[in-house]
C-alpha cells in the first residue's frame, strides 16, 4: 500500500505543473504548426490545406530581417561576453565579501520595467538629448549627426538589456573554480596569463556556453529595441512576426515564421546542449 503510494507520488506531484506546461506550451506548438499550414483569412475562416509553401514564401519574403536578427544577435552576444567576462572574473575572484553586493547591483536594472529602460535609452541617445545636445552645441558633432534610428542604437540597447543575462552564468561558473587550482598553476611556474588560459578559462566554459545561450535566444527574437531605438533599416524578425500576428492577422505566415525562428534556434541550442549536457546548462540558467 505504502509502496504503491510512494511509487505514484512523483506522478501526483508532477501532474498539475506538467499538465499546465503540456496544455499551454506543448499543445500550442501543434496548433501553431497546424495554423502555419492553413489557408484563408480572418473573415472567412481558415482551412487546413497543408500549404507548405507558406514556409518558402515567408523565408523568401523576410530573409533579410532573419539574417539581420542573427547578425545582431551574434554581435550583441559577443559584446556582452567581452564586457561581462572581466567583470564576472573580478567579482568572483577579487570582490571578497562584497560579492553579493556587486551581483545585486548588476541585477538592479531588473527592478525597472524592460520597456521603461529601453525608453530611457531613447531619451539618453536623443539627437539633441543630454549626451548629444551639448556636443552639438560645442560643434564637436555636426547638427545632423544621430545615433537613434541606426543599427548601432539597436545593438547598444540590446547589449544593455541583456548584459545581466550574460554576467550571472559567467559569475556562477567562475565562482565555482577552486582557487587552489590557480595557485597550483602559479606554483608550477605558469605566468598569470598562462594560468588564466590553461586553468580559469577552460573551467569557466560552461558559464560561457550558458551565458551565450540565454543571451542569444532572446536577442535574436527581440522586437522592442528595434521598435523604440531603430529606424528604416533595423527591422528584426520579431517585428515581422509581431506585425503579421497582431496587425495583419495573417496567421499562417506569422506561425510559419515563428516556427522557423524557433526551429532554427532550438536546433542550434540542442546541438549545443548535446555537446555540454543539458543538466549543466539548465542549472546555470536557473542560477540567474
Amino acid at each position: 500500500m505504502r509502496s504503491l503510494r510512494s511509487r505514484l507520488a512523483p506522478y501526483w506531484l508532477a501532474l498539475p505543473g506538467g499538465m499546465w506546461l503540456a496544455i499551454f506550451f506543448v499543445v500550442p506548438m501543434f496548433f501553431m504548426l497546424s495554423l502555419s499550414l492553413q489557408t484563408g483569412d480572418t473573415l472567412n475562416g481558415y482551412q487546413q490545406t497543408f500549404h507548405w509553401s507558406t514556409y518558402s514564401d515567408v523565408l523568401s519574403g523576410y530573409h533579410v530581417q532573419f539574417v539581420r536578427s542573427i547578425i545582431y544577435a551574434v554581435i550583441v552576444t559577443s559584446l556582452a561576453l567581452l564586457i561581462s567576462y572581466p567583470m564576472a572574473y573580478w567579482i568572483a575572484f577579487r570582490a571578497g565579501r562584497h560579492k553579493s553586493t556587486f551581483l545585486f547591483l548588476i541585477l538592479l536594472p531588473f527592478f525597472v520595467s524592460f520597456v521603461i529602460r529601453t525608453l530611457s535609452w531613447q531619451f539618453i541617445l536623443a539627437d539633441n538629448g543630454i549626451v548629444m545636445g551639448p556636443l552639438k552645441d560645442l560643434h564637436l558633432l555636426p547638427q545632423d549627426f544621430h545615433v537613434l534610428a541606426t543599427s548601432f542604437a539597436v545593438i547598444c540597447g540590446l547589449t544593455y538589456n541583456f548584459l545581466p543575462f550574460m554576467v550571472l552564468p559567467l559569475y556562477v561558473s567562475l565562482e565555482r573554480i577552486d582557487h587552489r587550482l590557480v595557485e597550483a598553476a602559479h606554483d608550477l611556474y605558469a605566468g598569470r596569463f598562462a594560468a588564466f588560459r590553461r586553468v580559469v578559462l577552460p573551467l569557466s566554459l560552461p558559464g560561457v556556453f550558458a551565458g551565450v545561450l540565454i543571451t542569444f535566444v532572446p536577442v535574436a527574437s527581440d522586437y522592442v529595441n528595434a521598435t523604440i531605438l531603430g529606424g528604416t533599416h533595423t527591422t528584426m524578425i520579431g517585428n515581422i512576426v509581431q506585425t503579421l500576428y497582431l496587425t495583419n492577422n495573417d496567421y499562417p505566415a506569422a506561425s510559419a515564421l515563428s516556427f522557423t525562428l524557433m526551429g532554427a534556434l532550438l536546433l542550434g541550442i540542442f546541438a549545443y546542449a548535446r555537446a555540454l549536457g543539458t543538466e549543466d546548462v539548465m542549472q546555470t540558467a536557473a542560477a540567474r
Binding site: 512523483p10 508532477a14 548588476i106 536557473a286
Partner: protein, 265 residues
C-alpha cells in the same frame, strides 16, 4: 594587485552604465514638465507624486499588472514547487520527458511562446484578456520555480525526512514540517523571480492581452505620443519597493542562515 584595481574600476563603470537609465527614470519623475513631452529638465516638482493616479488608464493597467503578478506567483509557486520536487527527488518514467519540456520551454524565444499560445486561443475561439494573460504568465513562470526548487532538493539530506517518517509522521506532515521548511529558500526565490518576470513581461503579454492593458503594455503604447511623468513615478516606486524587499529578504536570510542550512549538504 594593479590589475585587480583596474578591473574593479572597470566593474564600477559597467555598473554605472547599467544604472544610468534607472537614474534617468527616477530623475524625470521629479521634472516639472509643462507640456506633453517629458524630455527636458524644467525644474523640480513633487506634483507627479501627488497626481500619481490621475491617469485612469495607467492606474487600471498598473492594478492589472499587480494582481496578475500576485496570482501568477501563487499559482506558479504551487505548480512549480511540486513539479520541482518530483523531478528533483524521484526517478520515474516520463522524467526525461519532463526535463526536456522544461529545458525546451526555457530555451524557446518568448515571442514564440506568446505566438503559439495565441495560436491556441485563436484556434479554439478563446477571447483574449485578463485570464489568458494570467495563463501565459503561469506557463512561463513554472519552469523557473521548478528548476530552482529542483536544484535545492537535489542537495537535500533525505535522512531528516526518513527520520520523521520512521517516527510515525504521515507523509503530509513530513512534507509540511520537514521538507517544506528545507526547500523554503528555493520556493521563495522562485516566487520572487516569478513575480518579477510577471510584472515586467511585455512580449508574451502583448500577444495574449486582447483589449486588457498591463503596465508595460500601457507604457509602450504611450511612448508613441509621449510618456507622462506618472510612468516614471510608478517605475520609481516599483523599483524602490522591489529593491527594498530584496534587501530585507537578503538580510533576514543571512541572519537565519545558521538554522536553515542544516538540511543542505
Amino acid at each position: 594587485m594593479k590589475r585587480g584595481r583596474l578591473l574593479g574600476a572597470y566593474t564600477g563603470l559597467v555598473i554605472a552604465y547599467l544604472c544610468l537609465p534607472i537614474f534617468v527614470m527616477i530623475l524625470f519623475g521629479f521634472n516639472d514638465t509643462k507640456g506633453r513631452y517629458n524630455f527636458t529638465w524644467q525644474g523640480f516638482t513633487l506634483s507627479w507624486y501627488r497626481h500619481l493616479f490621475d491617469i485612469g488608464g495607467l492606474t487600471d493597467a498598473l492594478v492589472n499588472s499587480l494582481t496578475i503578478a500576485v496570482f501568477a506567483t501563487i499559482l506558479s509557486v504551487v505548480l512549480g514547487t511540486t513539479l520541482g520536487l518530483a523531478i528533483g527527488r524521484y526517478r520515474f518514467r516520463g522524467k526525461a520527458g519532463l526535463d526536456l519540456m522544461l529545458f525546451a520551454q526555457i530555451a524557446t524565444p518568448e515571442i514564440v511562446l506568446g505566438a503559439s499560445l495565441l495560436s491556441l486561443f485563436i484556434s479554439l475561439g478563446v477571447p483574449r484578456g485578463y485570464v489568458t494573460i494570467l495563463v501565459a504568465h503561469v506557463m512561463f513562470c513554472i519552469p523557473f520555480v521548478a528548476i530552482t526548487v529542483q536544484a535545492r532538493v537535489v542537495g537535500l539530506d533525505r535522512s531528516l525526512e526518513e527520520a520523521a517518517l520512521d517516527l510515525g509522521a504521515t507523509p503530509l506532515v513530513t512534507f509540511r514540517k520537514v521538507t517544506l521548511p528545507l526547500i523554503m529558500p528555493a520556493v521563495l526565490a522562485g516566487g520572487l523571480l516569478s513575480f518579477a518576470l510577471s510584472i515586467d513581461d511585455f512580449v508574451t503579454t502583448s500577444f495574449n492581452a486582447g483589449q486588457t492593458s498591463t503596465f508595460p503594455l500601457w507604457v509602450y503604447g504611450a511612448s508613441r505620443i509621449g510618456v507622462p511623468p506618472q510612468v516614471n513615478v510608478m517605475g520609481t516606486l516599483i523599483f524602490v519597493v522591489g529593491v527594498g524587499f530584496a534587501v530585507v529578504t537578503a538580510f533576514s536570510n543571512r541572519q537565519t542562515r545558521g538554522g536553515r542550512e542544516v538540511g543542505a549538504r
